[in-house]
């Protein structure tokens, strides 16, 4: 039907319409260009220069890809990348699993779902810096609540923030505690969209609860799961505040993520060129992740018939 109309309307008015469309979109597009594209391009440009605020006598020299070469040959950079990937993998997996369990529990509630849903969001509403501080106090040595409890039960807890592996425990816990509700809420919306009659039919066919979960819930929840996965992965890749507050990247650089390292190069050491190169690398990785995810979701939306 649409096809017939376009043919009937002819090419000229259509082009006119398209131009009008662009014009209407222009203000929004220029705002996006100004506040999103502009700074990104500027950072790319800056990353090709030697620009160190502490050393004005060096001038602002064009050095091509030298900053990138430095980053890629720096063990601290690769350490930070490794920490970031590991953090993202562990925290996002935990958040998805716990979030799904939480969503399923709330979904099966008969009464009080609204109240629980609101209460569930509380951790998400607390500013990350506050969450980080609270969890740091819990794990502080001595005197932290967690430590005191462990010691009373006969365990010998490590000095959490002085141990390269143990330091991750409070960090990941804080992140999972804060973001699981967000994931759960996304998944809950997905769950509530699933047609209940499918479960009824499955029950009549004698399908077990597990079979219902794998054959109905998971496939139909996939779009929501993907959205949660993408949001959380991109967020986790840029993680900064919770780590800044809890460990500042220590002990040594054992919990330093790529965003922490960039902060240190850019704002502590005032190396604008090198720091910009690091920012561009973070941007590229998250952008590719997002593109990949959008394609994945887009195809799914096309392939899947409206249920």
């Amino acid at each position: 039907m649409t096809r017939r109309r376009t043919i009937a309307a002819g090419a000229l008015p259509r082009r006119h319409e398209a131009r009008l469309g662009w014009m209407m979109a222009l203000p929004a597009l220029s705002v996006i260009a100004l506040i999103a594209l502009g700074p990104v391009l500027w950072a790319v440009w800056e990353s090709l220069y030697l620009h160190d605020l502490r050393m004005p006598w060096l001038g602002r020299r064009f050095i091509g890809l030298q900053n990138y070469v430095e980053a890629f040959s720096d063990p601290r950079f690769w350490g930070a990348i490794g920490h970031t990937v590991a953090f993202a993998a562990v925290s996002v997996t935990s958040e998805l699993v716990l979030g799904l369990a939480l969503a399923a529990a709330v979904d099966s509630m008969m009464r009080g779902r609204g109240v629980v849903r609101t209460a569930m969001l509380l951790p998400w509403a607390v500013p990350t810096v506050v969450v980080g501080l609270v969890w740091r106090f819990l794990f502080e040595t001595p005197g932290g609540l967690m430590n005191t409890m462990l010691v009373r039960s006969g365990a010998t807890p490590p000095i959490w923030f002085a141990d390269p592996l143990a330091a991750w425990v409070p960090v990941v816990l804080a992140d999972v505690w804060k973001t699981t509700p967000f994931v759960a809420l996304l998944l809950l919306a997905g769950l509530q969209n699933i047609d209940r009659t499918l479960y009824e039919a499955a029950r009549i066919d004698g399908a077990s609860a597990w079979r219902q979960f794998t054959a109905i819930t998971l496939p139909l929840l996939k779009p929501a799961l993907l959205v949660a996965l993408v949001f959380r992965t991109v967020d986790a890749f840029r993680v900064f505040d919770v780590i800044f507050v809890m460990t500042s990247g220590g002990p040594g650089t054992a919990t330093e993520t790529i965003a922490m390292y960039t902060f240190s190069a850019l704002l502590e050491n005032l190396r604008f060129g090198y720091g910009s190169a690091l920012s561009v690398i973070i941007f590229t990785v998250t952008f590719v992740l997002a593109l990949f995810a959008i394609r994945l979701m887009g195809r799914r939306a096309l392939v899947e018939p409206s249920s």
């Binding site: 006598w57 060096l58 001595p142 923030f161 141990d163 002990p251 040594g252 704002l267 050491n269 005032l270």
Partner: protein, 395 residues
């Protein structure tokens, strides 16, 4: 019209505002505004760099952390003060060294901070003569008096750790940069110093491993609650520890220079604030007048009384007034300041320190052996200094 930028909170703010009012009354032609800046050193540094890099004419007079002076001087952001012929002989020499860059003086010390050993006078008759004795006394105090910690210091990964290390390094006769500005932090003496620090935690167990997450305040609280035999801290802790309302060790502790090992000398890390003039200041003459006024003995004494900071003029340590103001024996304080050693004077100090902090913390948390950690640090420091293209930096 002048602007002064620095700490303007709490007692420091109270003191500086009173002094500035008095100064304006004495100089009717000059008006001075206070520009309050963040108390966290990193944030203040970042703010100053933004202003000065933009060639702003305000603020005229800047309170700098002593480690920033070479950075700001090399960048051309602060004025060479030699033109005003400052009375350089009236200050502690170490406090001036830290403010020189390429032979010229760029700032004058306002107050000096020194790392010192706090010891429990109820547990021993005299402070330890050397690091071995310190370890023995610490262990004995823990054993015989059931005190949980022998020795506590700032071991978190931050600037404080570098100052603690600087003192242990001096105790073993090592340095971070040698007289020619070359990196010497991977020397055998430096390795011995870091090994001593690590072993006092993990082998001798006189230092609790928790110090690896502690800064000044956690350390002070441990000592103040009677949980430690020795403490390394700055002068600010003194008045708080003497307050019987909150302290369990009031009247039962003394201060002393950090002792040495064989082959080294007692060393105190030098900290504190200095005053400098913005190179783009519209009225540098008036700015210097203000600095001169703030550094008058009477003003320094008032600051010592209100804020508890140590004046940079040795001559003041002969007076009873200072004893009343600081409530320490001035000769004891002076003995410690005379052992003070500044941190390396280089425009890239903050990054140099960051490299060292990471290496020290890796060594102390046993992620790396002390020698490997310091070799890594030395390599990174050499690369950093090469990047400045200044050749060897000035001592």
């Amino acid at each position: 019209m002048l602007t002064f930028a620095g700490s303007a909170l709490g007692k420091e703010g109270e003191s500086i505002r009173r002094q500035l009012e008095h100064f304006q009354a004495m100089h009717p032609g000059i008006r001075v505004d206070v520009q309050s800046t963040p108390d966290a050193a990193d944030h203040r540094h970042q703010l100053y760099v933004q202003w000065l890099n933009a060639r702003a004419a305000d603020p005229d007079v800047l309170q700098l952390d002593v480690i920033w002076a070479p950075e700001f001087a090399a960048a051309g952001w602060i004025l060479d003060l030699d033109r005003f012929r400052p009375p350089v002989d009236d200050f502690f020499p170490a406090a001036l060294t830290a403010n020189r860059w390429n032979g010229a003086l760029y700032a004058l010390p306002w107050f000096v901070d020194v790392g010192m050993l706090y010891w429990r006078s109820d547990l021993m008759s005299h402070p330890p003569m050397d690091l071995d004795e310190l370890r023995q006394l610490a262990a004995r105090g823990m054993r015989e008096h059931a005190i949980p910690f022998g020795f506590v210091w700032q071991g978190a990964r931050y600037e404080g750790l570098v100052t603690v290390f600087l003192e242990q390094l001096g105790a073993f006769g090592g340095v971070i940069l040698d007289d020619h500005g070359r990196v010497a932090v991977d020397s055998d003496r430096a390795v011995a110093a870091l090994t001593y620090m690590r072993d006092s935690i993990h082998v001798d167990a006189v230092v609790p491993a928790a110090v690896l997450t502690w800064q000044e305040e956690q350390v002070r609280l441990a000592f103040q609650n009677g949980q430690a035999v020795f403490m390394r801290n700055w002068p600010y802790a003194h008045a708080l520890l003497q307050d019987p309302e909150q302290s369990r060790v009031a009247g039962r502790f003394g201060i002393a220079p950090m002792p040495a090992a064989s082959g080294g000398a007692p060393t105190a890390a030098l900290g504190g604030s200095v005053l400098a003039i913005n190179a783009n200041s519209g009225d540098s003459e008036a700015a210097y007048q203000l600095i001169e006024y703030l550094l008058e003995p009477a003003q320094l004494l008032e600051r010592a009384r209100i804020v508890g900071q140590y004046p940079p003029r040795p001559s003041m340590y002969d007076s009873h007034e200072l004893e009343d103001a600081l409530r320490v024996v001035p000769s004891e304080a002076r003995a410690i300041i005379e052992h003070a050693v500044p941190r390396p004077a280089t425009p890239v100090y903050t990054e140099l320190s960051q490299i060292l902090q990471i290496a020290l913390h890796r060594g102390l948390t046993r992620q790396l052996e002390p020698r490997a950690a310091l070799q890594q640090a030395a390599k990174d420091m050499r690369a950093l200094l090469a990047r400045t293209e200044l050749g060897a930096t000035q001592p």
